[in-house]
Amino acid sequence: MPDRPKKIDGLESEELEGLDEVVYVRRDDGSCFSLNPTASVILDLCNGQRTCEDIMLTLQEDLTVEKEQLLKDIEAILTEFNEYGLTTSS
């Protein structure tokens, strides 16, 4: 997992209103990914400068989850983003 993950270029998003789902489409090959709103926010926070902890601190205000658990969850999500090619290292 990159230290400071960056959302890849060429990713379009469409929020599916009423479904709590955001669909991301890679412009280069048309592949699609569906994320819940929280995961979508995390992806959008991946600007190549924020660390996992930075993202956790940004989200902590809005979520009622223990810091350590939240950090673990975010790390897991960022690992998946990296595996699916949605993020790269900055």
Binding site: E12, S13, E14, L16, E17, G18, L19, E21, V23, V25, R27, G30, C32, S34
Partner: protein, 290 residues
Amino acid sequence: MAAPYWSLHKVVAGMQLHIDGSSLDCRDEITALLSLFPDRFVRVGTKTSNDMCFHVRRSGEKVLLLDDKQQLYCTADHSGDIVAAFEWAFYKHTLDAINPELLSIHASTVKVDQRLITFAGISGAGKSSLCTAALLQYAHYLTDEFTLLDESGCIVPFPRPLQWGIEKHPAFDTHAMLASGLFTRAFYDFTHQHGDTLRSWLWLPKHIEGNRQPADIMILPRYDPHAPTADIQPLRRGQAIIELAHLIQQPISIATSVKELHRRLPRKTLFYRLHFSSAKAAIFLLIETN
């Protein structure tokens, strides 16, 4: 210009189509191709405006297909090749003209017990087989290959013939299909790119649904000869829309397709994934489930 020998006036997805010929060339085949579309009544001698217009002409040994501006679309030695060219041009013109009012999904649609069932998938997924199996159970036919979705989430009928390149369908007894009275059949021959003659069989269902109606049930089928006869599972709307977005036949981006499908498809539309080895069993299961 002399009056044509034959002419057809049809309504196609709300548009006016006119085609005429200066001789018998292509008349019977094109009449069969368009026979399921509603006629447009035109008073003899009146000038009409058309959204799509084609002309078939003979020039010596050659048969010509012209567009509405009398520009040459293509020329061929055999009338069957002009029929094939017309078919391709007709579908292309339709898809261009309906964009963006109608989204065209690579899918077949039938009406069963007042509800529309759409089978969407790539070639070989089993759309036409499921469509045929439903029609043999007295379903009404809307379309095969081009399911047109309007802005309000209704499917607009586009009843082109079901088409196979072989006389005997692998899943259905053709004699039984004809004996059922639920289909008639026609064909035309054309020259394949490799030079051999191929026959396109046109299957014309008897019961046509002429009215647009909201999309009720969308099925993403997958034919698998090793699968159980039929297995159906509900599919999340988001996942279904992602897969349907890859089946849009117009040149729009996947992201736009996702957005438009979600906007248009009614919230009450149900989505299912269907694995099947028997189209007949699949249809019975669908009817039972819904």
